[in-house]
Amino acid sequence: MFPIAFRRVAVVLLVIISLSLSVYNLFNLLQTQPKVTDDVSNWESRIQPVKQKLPAGIDYLSYLDDSNLREVRSQTKGELVEFYLTQYALSPIIVRRGVKYPWIIGNFSSKNFTGWLKSSIGAYQIEDLGSGIYLIHRAAQ
């Protein structure tokens, strides 16, 4: 066991370290540049036109992105995040990956998906909502 003086110093040091690191953390936080808007709010603004264009009473939406165009269909982290953000922005509409439902959201980085889309779902109508977001409606067959 250490002498009592050592043990008292240990208590004082622990308090000093704790409080000074709290202050250090706070200063670090204050120095970092605040974002104008956060990523989730940005995505909500991007998806906003979909909400406006969708007819009322839609419970389910299909969702497509660049991963559907690749031969190996694993999503990148960014694609996964964008899918969940879309689900969050459009709730309480249930968003599912694939083309099961007639209303489809397309989130593509380029316009080279049209051939793939036609071979996958046949006839469709499409509206470009900007920022790589498309609202697709599969024609009744």
Binding site: M1, F2, I4, F6, R7, R8, V9, A10, V11, L14, V15, I17, S18, L19, L21, S22, V23, Y24, N25, L26, L29, L30, T32, P34, K35, D38, V40, S41, V81, Y84, L85, Q87, Y88, S91, P92, I94
Partner: protein
């Protein structure tokens, strides 16, 4: 709006305090502070259970806040009547002038809490929607509940949102707040997260003030509040912080029972253990472990404590069963054969051990290793352990839960490195406040070290006259 948001949840905390006081009516000032912080969990926990039960019975969601408000008033009225009748029959503990040193320690703890609060609000301002799991699980569930109206329960079997099988304590509280203010504002989940940040520190402080002394309680509060991980994890708006709070409450209540012999504390520990299961699926395992711990305690004390535990846990357990009947199965148990085979893979053990050690030493978010600082502190101040209660109870809870987490990593169907990297810091945090409670009960307090004498039995107010402490 922030004022109305605060009023909604402070109202729930007061209702929680009132219910806790009905169960355990001690008037000791330290107990009252402890009960105030227990009030957060009881208030928000019971409120979400009632909301679920209300929806399950098919009542319109719009009517629920008024029902809950009426219940709050009834609880408060019962307490007032009860206290009025007790006024002349019970002696309130006399007010003693606090020691200057104790006041100084409390001031330092308040300073640490203030710094942690500022950090929390700065983090929250940067990410008002929280972090990934907030908008893929907790807040998303809340949006579905709030925006889909009275038929939200029918969405559960459809797996409408990611991990629809996750318990709804947090999401229902958020959804109810939104339905009261009339808009799905980010201020609601932020405020709830803040409430749990403060309540974890307050609960740790007040529990240690009863079990040990105020100076030790303040030191533990300073230490926990100074970790950036606390406000940071709080600002993520995950259910991990509330879960850590419920674990701490359950463990502390078990331990305080061994100090006081008050069986009503077992009722409360049953309630908190079950509420942890209503907060996150990891809480289900904790509730079962708590039940086993209570069984062991019953056998050792030759006293049927299980009935008190059952009284506390009955209502939450009933609601959890109803909820689990509606939800899809958990994704961890989809391929049982593969999971069993993984138990015999030595590489998985090695990965889990090595990653756990690495995570423990980087835990907390300090620029220096928090674990190392704590180890050095223990090395310097440790003396012969001197606890008055049965510390093996919270220790057993921590140990069994850790073993359980280890088992989950062994059987997980997900890629093990990714699963550990994205969750282990949070799992460690679940047990961190309870581990600190345990540790600071064992270590000598500043009061003992600076007065150069053995710690005085300051918690004499806890012990009923003539009751010997359990050694």
């Amino acid at each position: 709006m922030i004022l109305s948001v605060a009023l909604i949840y402070i109202g729930k905390v007061i209702a929680g305090l009132a219910l806790t006081h009905l169960i355990w009516d001690s008037r000791d000032p330290k107990h009252l502070v402890f009960k105030l912080f227990l009030g957060t969990g009881v208030g928000l926990g019971i409120s979400s259970l009632l909301y679920f039960g209300w929806s399950w019975l098919g009542f319109p969601g719009l009517g629920y806040p008024a029902f809950e408000l009426s219940l709050c008033f009834i609880l408060l009225a019962i307490n007032f009547v009860k206290e009025y009748k007790r006024k002349n029959s019970v002696t309130i503990a006399p007010w003693r002038k606090p020691e200057v040193r104790a006041v100084l320690w409390v001031v330092l703890a308040l300073l640490a809490v203030t710094l942690a609060s500022f950090s929390f609000w700065l983090y929250a301002a940067k990410n008002p929607h929280g972090y990934n799991d907030a908008w893929t699980i907790w807040n998303l569930a809340a949006r579905f509940i709030y925006l889909s109206g009275d038929h939200w329960l029918s969405l559960l079997p459809k797996n409408a949102w990611f991990h629809a099988d996750y318990p709804l304590m947090l999401s229902l509280n958020i959804a109810e707040g939104w339905s009261i203010v009339g808009v799905n504002s980010t201020r609601i989940p932020i405020f709830i997260a803040f409430l749990f940040v403060i309540s974890i520190i307050g609960l740790l402080f007040s529990a240690l003030a009863i079990a040990k002394d105020i100076q030790q309680a303040a030191l533990a509060a300073i230490l926990v509040a100074s970790l950036p991980q606390l406000p940071f994890l709080g600002s993520w708006q995950y259910a991990d912080l509330p879960l850590a709070y419920f674990f701490l409450a359950t463990g502390a209540l078990f331990y305080l029972y061994t100090l006081t012999g008050e069986t009503r504390l077992i009722v409360l520990s049953g309630l908190f253990a079950a509420l942890s299961a209503w907060t996150k699926n990891e809480g289900l395992m904790f509730a079962i472990i708590s039940l086993c711990v209570c069984l062991i305690l019953s056998i050792r004390e030759k006293k049927n404590l299980l009935k008190y535990f059952a009284w506390g846990s009955f209502f939450p357990a009933l609601m959890i069963v109803l909820f689990k009947m509606l939800t899809p199965p958990n994704d961890l148990f989809v391929d049982k054969a593969k999971s069993i085979l993984q138990l015999f893979d030595p590489l998985r053990y090695q990965i889990i051990f090595s990653k756990t050690i690495a995570f423990v030493f980087s835990f907390g978010g300090w620029p220096i290793s928090f674990a190392l600082v704590l180890l050095l502190y223990i090395l310097f101040v440790s003396a012969k352990p001197e606890s008055k209660g049965k510390l093996w109870l919270p220790a057993l809870l921590c140990l069994c839960q850790l073993i359980g987490y280890f088992g989950i990593y062994l059987i997980t169907p997900h890629q093990i490195n990714t699963h550990i990297d994205t969750s282990l810091d949070r799992l460690l945090f679940h047990l961190f406040p309870l581990a600190i409670f345990l540790l600071f009960n064992v270590l000598p307090s500043p009061q003992a070290l600076f007065s150069n004498k053995l710690p005085a039995p300051e918690n004499s107010a806890v012990l009923p006259a003539g009751d010997k402490p359990h050694l």
